[in-house]
């Protein structure tokens, strides 16, 4: 018996990995993925490097020293020109725009009558930066009228960040929950992708056996359940092979790209971080280093062992549940176009898990919704993994929830597989019928 299952697994595996489109996908996907990343990095770099030149015609005395070149804008001062001349030369030099500040008595008045001339509607980043300069100056001016000196003003302006700590007294930092959830979410997302891609393989393989009419020959030699199980295992092994090749080759490619082309991938991610733009003092840099240390510590503190072990547990159980449903669907239909009505209800809980995960677990990893979905067996493989980077026990997922979700998953697995096997057993011998849900329920009783 066991050797027959082995034979089936081997055949399914070889049939899959020898398939031409499978080979093409295996080779092309990492290339495409790395290509995409390189392209995005490249585009982002180009975008960053575009510095807009704004010419400044400042007839007043209030803003002379306030325009410092920044990441987005560099300034060219056009003194001693009339407005018309300045406009003409800005145009002929193809600068981004002309900032005109007329000479008025007060800062307030000056600011109110200043104009930014541009060819088209100006970029928001540019206007925001310019407005920032005016605002700062206005605030300082208004405060001075209330008797605040410029020294006092600069001490007021110092940025502030709240100190964070856990109840245990460890220093905590903002964003760590999100980082943890993203790591868990990454695992969960991998499970979802795997289920959708390789569950589909299982389904197509069942349909192929039906349309080629070999199915009855096979099940006169082995039990339908053995065939179904062999098919699921064989296809998932093919999937794991493909996934491993993807990960290894994508990492190697990425490394090669970084080494050869010097694309700064890290720059990509840090750009999106919450690092405030503008000049940073030495002290700020030091706190940044401190923060990085805490981030690194927190990431190292994530219970990686637990996470990986539970990834495999949830992955195997989740995949078995879903792929046996896929197998049952494949058995129920005659061709792939008939599968649509059945596929959607499968994908729904997976999508729900991802969305609930990202919206609810991110903000509140141990709230009622997160707990509910991490116990519900069709979503738990994904949602529980998003919660697990917080660890098990105090401050993390309570042990009973973790165990309960696995127990529920196992019970569901046994239930679904036996139901799916019944549908499969009946469905594979049915030809020419477009099944309805009612029909499928009838098959369960045969």
């Amino acid at each position: 018996m066991a050797s027959k299952l082995g034979l089936i697994i081997k055949r399914e595996y070889l049939a899959k990995v020898r398939n031409r489109s499978f080979i093409v996908m295996t080779i092309l996907s990492p290339l495409l993925m790395v290509g995409m990343i390189v392209l995005i990095a490249y585009l982002a770099k180009i975008n960053d490097e575009e510095i807009r030149v704004v010419s400044v015609l400042d007839e007043s005395a209030f803003f002379q020293t306030e325009f410092h070149p920044s990441k987005n804008i560099s300034y060219v001062h056009m003194d001693e020109l009339t407005l018309e001349q300045a406009k003409d030369s800005t145009n002929s030099l193809e600068y981004y725009g002309l900032l005109y500040i007329p000479n008025k008595a007060t800062v307030e008045e000056t600011a109110n009558s200043a104009y930014l001339f541009t060819k088209d509607n100006p970029n928001t980043a540019v206007t925001q930066e310019l407005e920032g300069v005016f605002q700062k100056q206005l605030r300082q001016d208004r405060l001075q009228k209330l008797g605040v000196s410029s020294e006092q003003f600069s001490s007021i302006e110092k940025p502030f960040e709240i100190n964070l700590s856990t109840f245990e007294g460890e220093k905590s930092i903002k964003g760590i929950n999100e980082i943890k959830a993203i790591i868990g979410g990454g695992f969960g997302y991998a499970i979802m992708m795997f289920i959708i891609i390789y569950g589909g393989f299982v389904m197509r393989s069942v349909i192929e056996e039906k349309t080629s009419r070999i199915i009855e020959v096979i099940i006169s030699s082995v039990k339908p359940f053995q065939l179904m199980l062999g098919k699921i295992i064989g296809n998932s092994l093919a999937g794991i092979t493909q996934f491993s090749i993807w990960i290894v080759s994508a990492s190697l490619l990425m490394l090669a790209v970084v080494l050869v082309f010097g694309v700064d991938v890290a720059a990509l991610t840090s750009e999106n971080g919450a690092v405030a733009p503008g000049p940073m003092g030495v002290s700020q840099l030091e706190t940044m280093d401190g923060k990085m240390m805490i981030y690194a510590k927190e990431i190292l503190d994530i219970p990686w062992g637990l996470l990986i072990v539970s990834f495999f547990i949830y992955f195997i159980l989740g995949y078995l549940i879903y792929s046996s449903i896929y197998a049952a669907i494949g058995a129920a239909v005659d061709n792939e176009t008939d599968t649509q009505q059945f596929i959607f209800p499968i994908i729904l809980p997976l999508m729900l898990a991802i969305y609930v995960g990202f919206f609810s677990v991110f903000s509140n990893p141990h709230g009622p919704i997160a707990v509910g979905f991490s116990l519900f067996p069709l979503t738990s493989p994904i949602v529980m993994l998003m919660r697990l980077p917080g660890g098990i026990g105090e401050g993390g997922v309570p042990l009973w929830q973790f165990l309960l979700s696995i127990v529920l998953l196992i019970i569901t697995f046994l239930g679904i597989v036996s139901l799916a096997a019944k549908i499969y057993r009946t469905g594979i011998l049915m030809y020419g019928k477009k099944p309805t849900y009612k029909e499928l329920i009838k098959w369960l009783r045969y």
Binding site: S212, I218, S220, S221
Partner: protein, 312 residues
Amino acid sequence: MDHILVAKNVTKTYGNYTALSNISLQIPKNCIYGLLGPNGAGKTSFIRIINQITHQDSGEIFLNGEPLAQKHIASIGYLPEERGLYKSMKVGEQALYLAQLKGLSKNEAKTRLKYWFDRLNIGDWWDKKIQELSKGMAQKIQFIVTVLHEPKLLIFDEPFSGFDPINANIIKDEILQLKENGTSIIFSTHRMESVEELCEYIALIHKSEKILDGKLSDIKKAYKNNIFDVGLQVKSRTDNIMQSLEKQFNILSSNIEGLDHQLNFKVQLPSSHTGEILTELSKVGNVNRFDETIPSANDIFIQTVNSKDNGE
């Protein structure tokens, strides 16, 4: 008599639909047993139960005297009506796989496959994919993988569909050869001409019930109605002789070839005794043909099915 397969009161239902109702059959060893019936009669349901693809709701099945069990799979070979092979798999690889699923070792399977491939002259197909072969060629492979593990009981469901006449003959000869070698064969079909040629025993299933079974020759005997086909050469006056014969016997149909003085007619006698009519006929002419019309399997099939339908 020794039986390869005995079914006792086998019943199978699918929801409200009864596929088999109380079927009992005895299939003798080393013969070709025709399982006949119109489409949807329940033949395939019965065969699937023998192959343990599905299970009967009630009743018992014995293979070689033992209750049917999982281990018997290796001693049954099944060629389903709905059959096919993996299209993108190579012929040799596929045949090896299917043989191993039936419990043959890889080496054993290889040796036997070589033998069969040579026997059916398809040795050079080993590395071809099924999708490169014609339908008839694929059927040959299918036949080989069915018989390869030398099962004691072979079940062929419409084995000749998909074959051209020449290859159908080759397969028919192979089936007869297998029977010679001691295999018991169940042959399911609704094509009666092959039944006449091959089957020693038949069972007729109609609307999920067995309505007839036994030795084909016995059944035919039971179904003949003493109808004889007669040719009579007379000297003269064909019309008058015909008229007088019609008075004496139950003439079913007649045709007179006046120029040749030949009378041809079908007559039904009250019993199987032919002495009286032969005496009478000899008086008026020369009997040059006197055949008992034996009903064909086809006739019996149609007759029983119709009488069953009308009688109920």
